[in-house]
Subunit: 246 residues, 2 copies
Amino acid sequence: MSPYDPGIRLYVDDALAAGAAVTLDADQAHYLRHVMRVKPGETVLLFNGRDGEWRGEIADLGKKGGAATVGEQIRPFTASPDLWLLFAPIKRARIDFTAQKASELGVSGLWPVMTDHTNVSRVNVDRLRANAIEAAEQCARLDVPEVFAPAPLRDVLGNWQADRQIMLCDESRTGVSLADTLAAQDATAPWAVLVGPEGGFSPAELDLLHGRPQVISVGLGERLLRADTAAVAALACWQALLGDWR
Amino acid sequence: MSPYDPGIRLYVDDALAAGAAVTLDADQAHYLRHVMRVKPGETVLLFNGRDGEWRGEIADLGKKGGAATVGEQIRPFTASPDLWLLFAPIKRARIDFTAQKASELGVSGLWPVMTDHTNVSRVNVDRLRANAIEAAEQCARLDVPEVFAPAPLRDVLGNWQADRQIMLCDESRTGVSLADTLAAQDATAPWAVLVGPEGGFSPAELDLLHGRPQVISVGLGERLLRADTAAVAALACWQALLGDWR
């Protein structure tokens, strides 16, 4: 198998061990039958976020679901870095994009946070999760990002775990150098990247953030980045400087 | 004016100097009239890639075009870093996205290169250019990326300028650390980021690339990145480590 083509990979709930039976849901069965034209007896790759990656032989595919039998293990489990993306919800195409790209870039958690300048009031969490899982299947990671329930930024910060650092993407266009700042940080700590809405954070939110000991402010240059661009750019820089691209 | 909202910005061809008349094309006039509901007498920002940013008062808007009169200068000209993106063309939505994001991330040139595993045979250069210009207008940069005519990768490398470095995004998932490698490079040199197609470069192409003294190979981690994700990620890391985010 080429390193560029992992073939069909499915994220499943069931435990994975040689000989185990795995249940496929109706969407997965439909995807295998009608999109990928897979037939019983053919093999796919299976992962569940805890047991690594295994070969699975398709046993049955029907309208209501399907089943696979687990074969040999292909890769042992390794977790993605403990990195969350906190982002202000944006319109649908861009939120889909953000979830997909963040999953490819290896985040362990996705958290929509409502800010003073956030226009979007409802977030489709199931859709966010589906996009994150689909990207996880395609990018060959062994876990999927956890999707947290949307919450106001103030509440999220009010209950923040003391040791989780926050990389705050400073949209003032005068922020300090990202590379120099991140290079001096603790790569072993849990982290979160926080990207604001396109109207930026409110002055009150910035005061709140800058008062937090966990917040590390970094600049993303003088050009105005869209929120989704800023998220992808910040996550890539974090992986390059502190994450598993090293 | 908030740092987050530059208002309406238009890229124009004409020279910009106080009192000069500037021609707007039919698309710009339509956009101002029917999308932004701008009326004669209102002001926008103008830039042309060489004279900086100027206030412009709309003088006339019609079906075939319009005119503006240049007021005071807002910002002197500064060029974006000398960084090209070379990328294998992909399907339409992703190529639009790549052009938009690369422009936001400050590339000076966009070059579609045909590789052995490139499936797309035709590239709409006008569309690529329109996407790059629209993103340049929105992100407040003072120039627009040059779009080069699509060409085979072999020909591009055959005529390569000796001093332009190439950051090759290594999709083998075993590449060397991007951050450590880039940090040791010459930030004053002209650069190009080269991202392959989703099938990867062919062995012959990799031999050709690795034989070039300008090619610096970097890894983007173990997850399989889509070509458009790899382009955005690589450009962001370049700007953070060698470009104008420092």
